[in-house]
């Protein structure tokens, strides 16, 4: 009984892990196809200048 309980727990952990990885994988594959999500912007990127008048306390990160 105790053995079956342990096996059940291990199975649950494995299933949850697989489920998590599948979900992450699906999201990743989906997002890879969306070009705006890709981190690889090529060449020079115009930088929006920082507004020195902004409230630094609320934009600190």
């Amino acid at each position: 009984m105790r053995f079956a309980h342990t096996i059940g727990k291990i199975n649950a952990v494995i299933l949850l892990t697989v489920f998590y990885l599948v979900i992450i994988g699906v999201i990743a594959l989906a997002k890879r196809s969306v070009s705006m999500f890709q981190p690889h912007h090529k060449g020079w990127i115009k930088k929006e200048s920082l507004d020195p008048t902004m409230d630094w306390a609320s934009h600190q990160y």
């Binding site: 981190p39 020079w44 990160y61």
Partner: protein
Amino acid sequence: MGNIAASTSKTILGLSFDYHDAAVAILKDGELVAAAQEERFTRKKHDEHFPTNAIDYCLKEAGLTIQDIDYVVFYEKPILKFDRLLETFVYTWPHGLKTFLKAIPVWMKSKLWVKQTIQKTLGYSGPILFSEHHLSHAASAFYPSGFEEAVVVTIDGVGEWETTTIGYGKGDDLTITESIHFPDSLGLLYSALTYYLGFKVNSAEYKVMGLAPYGDPEPYDSAMRKLIQLNPDGSYQLDQRYFAYTYGLTMTNKKFDRLFGAPPRQPESPLTQREKDIAASLQRITEEAVLGIVKHAYELHPSENLCLAGGVALNCVVNEKILKQSPFKRIFIQPAAGDAGGALGAALYMSHTVFNNPRSFEMKHTYLGPAFSDHEIKEALESQKIVCHKQDRDALIKTAARLIANNHVVGWFHGRMEFGPRALGNRSILADPRKKENWQRVNLKIKFRESFRPFAPSVLEDKSSDYFDNVCPSPFMLLTAQTKTKDIPAVTHVDNSARLQTINREQNPMYYNLIQTFGDITGCPLLINTSFNVRGEPIVCSPQDAIQCFLNTDMDDLFIGSYRVSKSENIHLIRPEDRERYLKTFNLD
């Protein structure tokens, strides 16, 4: 202006930590009072941990407590950096899982909680602000440059997203206008090849630069050009198929190995012509890339002045090419161009742009660290039972110059410690540049480092043109020049270049007088100047550090404060087992 900016800034503490080279800089009423890297206190090279010791020192130097600090400024934005980590993980899925799982606990445990760490560790309850990584670099270069207006270029591995930026500064204003983003990174390209050549990433890139003149760039030129595409507008792209840094625990991958025909060199294995050729090829393409970037920067913002920062700005060979081949007439390079300088830049940006404090200083030297009194030095010497002699300043300088002329290698410890990676005459090992054998002698018996590595000369600024071609002031040892003479073989690299430090009396009177006196004796106003440390050790900070380094190497004499220590009079203190233990204290860099 926001609620914080409306108040008047008095004291700002700039911090950088959590990646590498943790550092602190303190501005008091707009003046840079002190700056130091944590590694000097903890004796762990490139120490990235919270800089408790450096903060304690800076506060003490400024005569303040943490409660007197008006603003603390961190040099980058952790959330944006975390955003890059997440997006890169998603983009590289499933390859990056291992790296992701390794990185996430560190981020969740500490890197995301910078504000809380500062508050808790320092007991600080005032405002904490966050600059941006490359903005901090840019500010560290522009504000202390002395230029009224200048183009500012920053190039490093990666900040939050940016790896290269172009900006423009005028008066108190500084704006970044264009940037290149991760994973395209000139700094990471250099680091990837540093890894491939068997050296330590984020530490030994300068060794690759020193290795390059031994090689021929041609054999690996086509392979190198497959790694990076240089565009006519100065931008560039790395071919990510050859790199693993976006998803792996190494910098390069198997495809990279196939391109270069072999796996990465094992650290400490013998160097062959192959590694030298690859280094030469990398150095050449880096020079081309940086020249493209600065020329584009000039087109965007025509100016005669250029400011540089970021780790790539420590490549003095590139800097020399910029000076000779770009339209810029004057150049200022932040001496602490790596992340340590970010602490200074963050504080300066806040002071000038956010709080509108007028610019008030030009960085003419880097002596911003701790100094020690003769009393403290005497105590340190006595605690080790060291035989020493007290001399007045003039006598000390004459004795040191005479001994160096007699081919002694001396440790030179005076005044405030340097900020940044270079020892510039206050924590230096000095020797005679006229003797070629000193190149190997200092490398192998004193620094215990690779024999190929060159040495830099310190030369009197007003005499530099006698020894070097087209030389301009290089106070921070960040420019190279071609030597005109064969009289200084110990500081002349195989391509006839030298990475020189020019020095004038205003910057460091004592060091200037020493070189001048050596010149009076020998007719050669130059010295070999290398950092006071052994391989893998941070530059010495305290008298105790200097004494340990002196006793455990083949240095002949130590000049420390007003005291002269001779090895021959202290030979009874030297034990081989102590030396072995000492050298093992430091991880090889």
